[in-house]
Structure formats: structure tokens, C-alpha cells
Amino acid sequence: MSLSRPEAVAAERSETMPLRRRLRLWPRRRPGWTIILAAICLILIVVVAILAPWLAPHDPLNMSPANRLKPADDTYWLGTDAYGRDLLSRVLYGARVSLTVGIGSALISVVIGLPLGILAGFFRSLDAVIMRVMDGLMAIPSVLLAIAIVSLISANLWTVMAAITIPEIPRIVRLVRSVVLSAREEPYVEAAVALGSSLFTIMWRHLMPNTLAPLIVMSTYICASAILTEAILSFLGAGLGTETPTWGNIMAEGRTYFLIKPSLIFWPGIMLSICILSINLLGDAARDRLDPRLQKRGGAQ
């Protein structure tokens, strides 16, 4: 061991430090303004989604044929669509579906992918089986699979979410497996074997925590891509029923009236873009912060 590389210095300094938190999630330096902006946008969207019933000025499903395709005015702030429904209310309600699908897909894929990945990384015999199944899943285009599932079973929130989640699982499994493969070579894992720890303890206590940081990053990307896929499915007419206000549905309906009233596409589109952009930016920030290669050894472990 040679000395006085910066990390060695950091390690030494940490000896004199008082007890610190284990994982420093809160930044030491102030994050860049883009990150702050992204966080604010995302928080606003989440708040809007939760408070939609109170924020929305009208019932998003209430049709009034007399007020079809109205321009923005005092009653209908963003105007109305082809059935006379309030566009603003529909866009606000649309955030609910998008976020549910996004967060739901990310959670489900982690819950299924994490144990599969750990098993594949730990047992050589299972590795071949699990990874070949995952290779197979990765070969299926996600939108096609979704369309197939939705057309076989009726479209509701759960089937759409399942259709979006299944192709994402292999990404999680691969990530977890690669982390576990390198972590199981660590001497502390061998020490645990020598201490007679059960396989479950080794996997859960010694291997799993290594995967958390990359998993957090990966799930933000999955969340963003799930929101996008849901919008695509709705737009293609393979998603939730057309009466449900989702951003994809609103855009699909607005497509017909694009020349007369482009705002029908513009507003849900801009919400979708901001939402995905913020999630991706936050994911990037999380990656920069949690990436083990950027972390100083011994410092902020």
C-alpha cells in the first residue's frame, strides 16, 4: 500500500471524525441549478397528481357538447376538447396515471429483479437459467409485448403496468447480478462464509446493500421510461380506456384536431416532457453522487 494518495488522506481524516451517518445522501456541496429546478418541477407534478381532485376546476370526465373545442377563457383555462371536457382538469388528472405507472413499474421491477439478480450472481447453476430467460425477455420489443398483453387481457392500470414492467426486469437483474458478482469476491464475504453464516444472511446482509446505490439510479430511469411507454401505449390506443384522462390519451384524441386546436397536444406533451426530463436529471444527479467509482474509499461509505 503506497501512501498519501488523496483517498488515503481522506481515510486518515475520517479516523478523527466523530460518528457519521453511513450513507451520505444529502449533498455536501449545493447541487447545480438544473438539479434544483428538476427537483422543483417533479415535486410540483407529484403535488398536482395528489391534489388533482381539489385543484381541477371541473370534472375531467364531464362532457358538455355545447362547449366543444372552446379556446382558453375564464371558465376553461386551457379550453376544452372535442367532447367539451376541460383540458386543464384532464391534464392534471393525467399526472396521476403517469406517476402511478412510473413509480409502480420501477418498484415492481426492483422487487422482482433484485432477488433474481442476487440469486443469478450467487449461484452459478441458477445463473445460466435466469440469465437466458432474461436474454429472451430483452429480445421482445416492449411496446409489442404491451400491445399483446393488453389485447389478450382487458386494459386496466394493472395490466398496463405489468406490460410495461416485464421488459424492464432484465435490466435490473443484469445490474444486480454484475454488482453481486464483483461483491462476492470481497474478503468480507469470504469471512462471513468462514463464520458459518447462512446463505440468506450472506446474500441479504453482505451482498444486497452493495446493489442499493446503482438500483436507485436505475429505477429512476425505469420510472421515466415507464411513463413514456404508458403515454405511447395510450397514444396508440393500446393503453387505458380512452375516457381515462392520461397524457397519452389526451394527445391521441387531440391528434384529430391538431390543425384546429394544437393546444390539445401541446399541454399534455409539455407536462410529459418536463416530467421525464426532471426524473432523468435527478437520476443523473443520483448516479454522480452514488457511483462507487466517484466515491472516495473509506470516506463516505
Binding site: 501512501l3 498519501s4 488523496p6 475520517s14 462471513a192 468462514a194 458459518g196
Partner: protein, 572 residues
């Protein structure tokens, strides 16, 4: 070499002068890493920079080369003067010109210092392309071949065209030296260039550096932590500690009459090569036994077995026999690739032996299944080389210490109370229980790892290079601790090491391995005192600083030299 080292009073102009060099982290300029370093190197002189981890040796060399990591470390004061060029004020372009042509550097890790995607000849040639624009490609190639010849590589035409991965560690370090010296720089900085190499290779490389230095009149700034190497090559020595120069003296004076207490400690901590006198055998009970133990890599596949084909297999260790009795220490020594770690891991059942038996307390565990093995795992515990990776960084010390006992049914409270006792036993405060590994130094972590192994109340402790990553003073403390624990608890230790000095100080019996076979096995006093096998002898001869008694501050009166009394050995 020491005798040549004593220079006459005539002092030529220094090649490198460092005055009051201060380096501090950019974020906290008030906590400097170097607190005013002064030293000079004369033409043709070898100055050794010695110190333990964190003393600032490497930072000094990086500051000279102008390679301090940008935005992290910054020189805040002082002077570095290389033959009239002030390096701290030099522009980036000027520094680039100076590097390689006037000063150059070789690094510790020859495995990663070469670009794996370029043939080595081209890599050396690159230096010429950058710095000597006038040469034709034929001239450049001739220059490179001549340099390869100078660093004594065999078959230079083939080496010129080979890729780094085709060369051994020693050969790569020779390439690095060729690259560093091709422009005949005035100053060569060698940052632990032999630490990653085996002793026999180390000896050759040190000899080579010395020869080239004489031929070209190069000054060498040699950074090392190994006092043995220092004793072999240095003209003068500069001892560093915590970013300050403790003392600078000619080598002979330093070894005989160290001025400061710190240097004295540093020298006393160097273990002696002379094996300690064997301890009396108190207990004849065999706790660990290996019988014709064998490990081959490249398993025959089920298909090959079924068709009866023989597949290519690499034996990592074969026909290993030893017996370890209670309270004794058996050392396995050998260079990298000798199979010593393979034996340790087979004994631990970290890897499956392909043949033979391992008996722990008389019970063969070599072929037991996972569940049947569990009660026997308790009997045999391991200490690992790297104290920074052998403790889970996310668990408190208490959690790490009680994990084993809890696995074997001890109630948690009881295990915690025992953990506190164990910490006291290895010399750590009780409040360490609630802390995390990163809050401890390397030596402290190794103590914790020992405590964790002891928590299982094992009969055998396997120590795989357990002190190799530690500084000498810390190393001495850990060895002392192991020795004391052994006396108090009667544990048998299987000690794997490449360091003959450590082996000589801790082992009762020594087993020397080479290329997977045991070449010599016997009491430490005999094997290391009067080795019979040629390989053991070559290891002893390659041990750096073997003519000096560091703790006694005088040369050894009886040095092991290579005039064998008999050429035939028992084990051949």
C-alpha cells in the same frame, strides 16, 4: 553496495534541490500534507525516501514531476529546483519538455503502467517521437532496441513487438525503466518500483537500476517503505513522517547511529531474517493436517469425464502434506503463483480441493457438504490480507463481531459481552463496538479482523498475508499480538507469507512452496537458517538487506551466503 556508497567529501552541484516544499489539499489549505520538505540529490546519487503510509513520500515525488492531482492537491510554498529550472513556476509546456528528457518516473504497479493496447516497442518509441523530433523511424527503432538490450531483456526483437500482457511483471518493470531512461534523464524517480514484485525479481531490478545509474550517471530518488531495500541501494536516506523530514543521513550513519527516536523505532521494527529459536513442543495433538492435498484448475467437464477424455488442467497445488499441532505456527512461504494461497483456501474450504484430505481435529472436511461442514467451520478461522476489504463497511464492529457466534446459537447479548472482551484482548477500546470500519486505521482493522476470528474460539487460525499490507511498526505490533494470543489461547496458526523476515520471526515450522509443490518443509531454524533446496537458498539470497542487523544497528556477523555444503536435498 554500502561500501561504495560512502562518498568522498567533494560534493558536486545538486541535481535536484527541494526547499521548504509545502503541499496542501485545495479544499483545506490549512491542513498541509507536506509541511516544508528540504533535501537535495547530487549527480549520480541514490537518495531513498523512507516513511510509513501517509508520510507524504509519494506526494513529494508527484510534486517534483508536476503531477499533483489537479483541483485536489496544490503546492502552497517552497522551491523545487532541477538543474536551474524552478519546477513549481515552470509552465505546463516546459514541464512536459522536462519530463522524460530531464526527469522521469517509474511506478509501483508494472501491470497497469503500460498501455495494454499498444505494443511495448511502440510505447517506448512514443517517448522519442514526443521529445526528439529529428529522428527517422529507423533510428528510433534502433534506439529502442538498444535500450531494451540495456535493461537486459532476452530476445529483444520479440519483446519489441509483444503486447504488455505477454510479459511478466519483472519484464514490464524493465520496459518501464527502458522508457524512463531512454532520453538519459538526469533524475529518475522510482516510486516503490519493486513492491509489487517477487523478491528474486526485485533483486534483479534493483541491480539493473544500479547498473544503469552508474552507466548514465543518473540521480535516483527512490521511494520505498522497505528498510531492507534501503540498506541495499541507498547512498543517503531521507526519513519522512507526517509530511516532515525527520532526518537525512548517509546510509551507513543512519543504520548505525540514527539520530531520532522515530528512525530508531522504524529500524527496530524490521523483523530479523535470522529465525527465532524454536519454542518447546508442549502439545502433540494435531489440530490441522493436510494429506496429499491437491487443487487443479480447469475442471474436466461432465462431457469430458463421460467420454473419458483428459482435459487440460493446471495444477495449482499438488501433493501437499503437513501437520500442525496445537499452539504452533506453520509458515507457508513462496513467491506469487507458488500455490500458497491456494493451499490456505483449500484448507478453509473456500475453494474445493480436487484431491486429498484436510483434517481438522482429526475429522476429514475436504469432501463434506455445506450443512455437514458447518460445525467444523467454527474450528478454523481466517485473517485476510487487505484490512480495508475484510470488514463489511456497512456494518458496525459489534455486528461483525457477533455474527459468527450468533450463527452458532450464542444469544446476542452474550455474544456482545464477549465481543467487548475480545476487543480488549486485541487492544482496542470498548467504544469501538458502535463504530464503523472506516473510522479505524489499517492496523486497527486487522486487530478487529483477528477479534472476529477469535470470537469463534477456533483451534486453527489461517493468516493469509495478514501483515503484508501494514507498515513495519504496525506489522510488528500485529505479529506480537498474534504471538501473545497464541500463548494465551493455544491456537495453532497457519501463516501464509511471501516475506521471509516475517516468517523467520513467527514460524516454528516452515514450508517452502514453488510452482504448486513443496520444495522444503521443516523446523524454521533449519529451513531458514541453513536451507537445503536451491530455491529456498535463492529466496534467502534475494531478501533485501540481509547483511544488516537492523535492530542491533550493526552489520550481521554471519551472513547467509551461497556456498552449499551439499547439492542434494532431501525433498528433490
Amino acid at each position: 553496495m554500502i561500501h561504495e556508497a560512502i562518498h568522498p567529501a567533494r560534493m558536486p552541484d545538486p541535481v535536484l534541490t527541494i526547499e521548504g516544499l509545502r503541499v496542501a489539499p485545495q479544499s483545506t489549505p490549512t491542513k498541509p500534507i507536506l509541511k516544508g520538505i528540504d533535501f537535495t540529490i547530487a549527480a549520480g546519487e541514490t537518495l531513498c525516501l523512507v516513511g510509513e503510509s501517509g508520510s507524504g513520500k509519494s506526494v513529494t515525488s508527484l510534486a517534483v514531476m508536476g503531477l499533483l492531482p489537479k483541483g485536489i492537491l496544490k503546492a502552497t510554498g517552497g522551491h523545487i529546483d532541477l538543474e536551474g529550472d524552478s519546477l513549481l513556476e515552470a509552465s505546463r509546456g516546459r514541464l512536459r519538455d522536462l519530463r522524460a528528457s530531464r526527469m522521469s518516473m517509474i511506478f509501483q504497479e508494472p501491470m497497469t503502467a503500460l498501455n495494454p493496447l499498444m505494443r511495448v516497442g511502440e510505447q517506448i518509441e512514443e517517448v522519442l517521437i514526443m521529445h526528439q523530433k529529428g529522428l527517422s523511424s529507423k533510428q528510433r527503432q534502433d534506439r529502442v532496441l538498444e535500450m531494451l538490450d540495456q535493461v537486459q531483456l532476452p530476445d529483444i526483437a520479440r519483446v519489441y513487438a509483444s503486447w504488455p500482457h505477454q510479459l511478466s511483471g519483472g519484464q514490464r518493470q524493465r520496459i518501464m525503466i527502458a522508457m524512463a531512461l531512454i532520453l538519459e534523464p538526469k533524475l529518475l524517480i522510482a516510486d516503490e518500483p519493486t513492491t509489487a514484485l517477487d523478491v528474486t525479481t526485485q533483486k534483479q531490478i534493483l541491480k539493473l537500476i544500479n547498473e544503469l545509474q552508474k552507466r548514465h550517471g543518473t540521480s535516483v530518488l527512490f521511494i520505498t517503505h522497505d528498510m531492507g531495500v534501503v540498506a541495499d541501494i541507498a547512498d543517503r536516506v531521507c526519513v519522512m513522517r507526517d509530511g516532515e523530514v525527520v532526518e537525512t543521513q548517509p546510509i551507513e550513519d543512519l543504520l548505525r547511529w540514527p539520530k531520532t527516536e522515530y528512525t530508531r523505532q522504524l529500524l527496530t521494527a524490521v523483523p530479523s531474517l535470522r529465525p527465532r529459536t524454536a519454542r518447546a513442543v508442549t502439545d502433540r495433538e494435531i489440530v490441522l493436517e493436510a494429506i496429499e492435498l491437491e487443487k487443479r484448475y480447469g475442471e474436466r467437464s461432465a462431457w469430458a469425464r463421460w467420454t473419458g477424455k483428459t482435459a487440460l488442467q493446471t495444477p495449482a497445488a499438488s501433493d501437499i502434506n503437513f501437520a500442525l499441532t496445537r499452539g504452533r505456527t506453520l509458515g507457508i512461504v513462496g513467491e506469487s503463483g507458488s500455490g500458497k494461497s491456494t493451499v490456505a483456501r483449500c484448507v478453509m474450504r473456500m475453494i474445493e480441493p480436487t484431491g486429498g484430505g484436510v483434517r481438522v481435529m482429526g475429522k476429514d472436511i475436504a469432501s463434506l457438504g455445506h450443512a455437514a461442514l458447518k460445525p467444523h467451520r467454527k474450528r478454523i478461522q481466517m485473517i485476510f490480507q487487505d484490512p480495508f476489504r475484510s470488514l463489511n463497511p456497512r456494518l458496525t464492529i459489534a455486528t461483525s463481531l457477533v455474527e459468527g457466534p450468533v450463527n452458532y446459537g450464542t444469544p446476542r447479548e452474550e455474544a456482545l459481552a464477549r465481543a467487548a472482551e475480545l476487543l480488549a484482548l486485541v487492544g482496542l477500546p470498548e467504544d469501538a463496538l458502535d463504530r464503523y470500519p472506516h473510522q479505524f486505521s489499517g492496523g486497527q482493522r486487522q486487530r478487529i479482523a483477528i477479534a472476529r476470528a477469535l470470537a469463534m474460539e477456533p483451534d486453527v487460525l489461517v493468516a493469509d498475508e495478514a501483515v503484508s499490507a501494514l507498515d513495519v511498526s504496525v506489522q510488528a505490533q500485529v505479529l506480537e499480538l498474534l504471538d501473545e494470543l497464541q500463548r494465551r489461547l493455544g491456537i495453532a496458526v497457519l501463516f501464509i507469507t511471501h516475506d521471509l523476515r516475517v516468517a523467520a520471526q513467527i514460524c516454528d515450522e516452515v514450508m517452502v512452496m514453488q510452482k504448486g509443490i513443496v520444495v522444503e518443509y521443516g523446523p524454521a531454524e533449519r529451513v531458514l537458517g541453513s536451507p537445503e533446496h536451491a530455491y529456498t537458498r535463492s529466496l534467502m539470497l534475494a531478501a533485501p538487506g540481509r547483511h544488516w542487523d537492523f535492530a542491533g544497528f550493526r552489520p550481521l556477523d554471519r551472513v547467509f551466503e551461497d556456498h552449499p555444503t551439499s547439492t542434494a536435498t532431501v525433498y528433490q
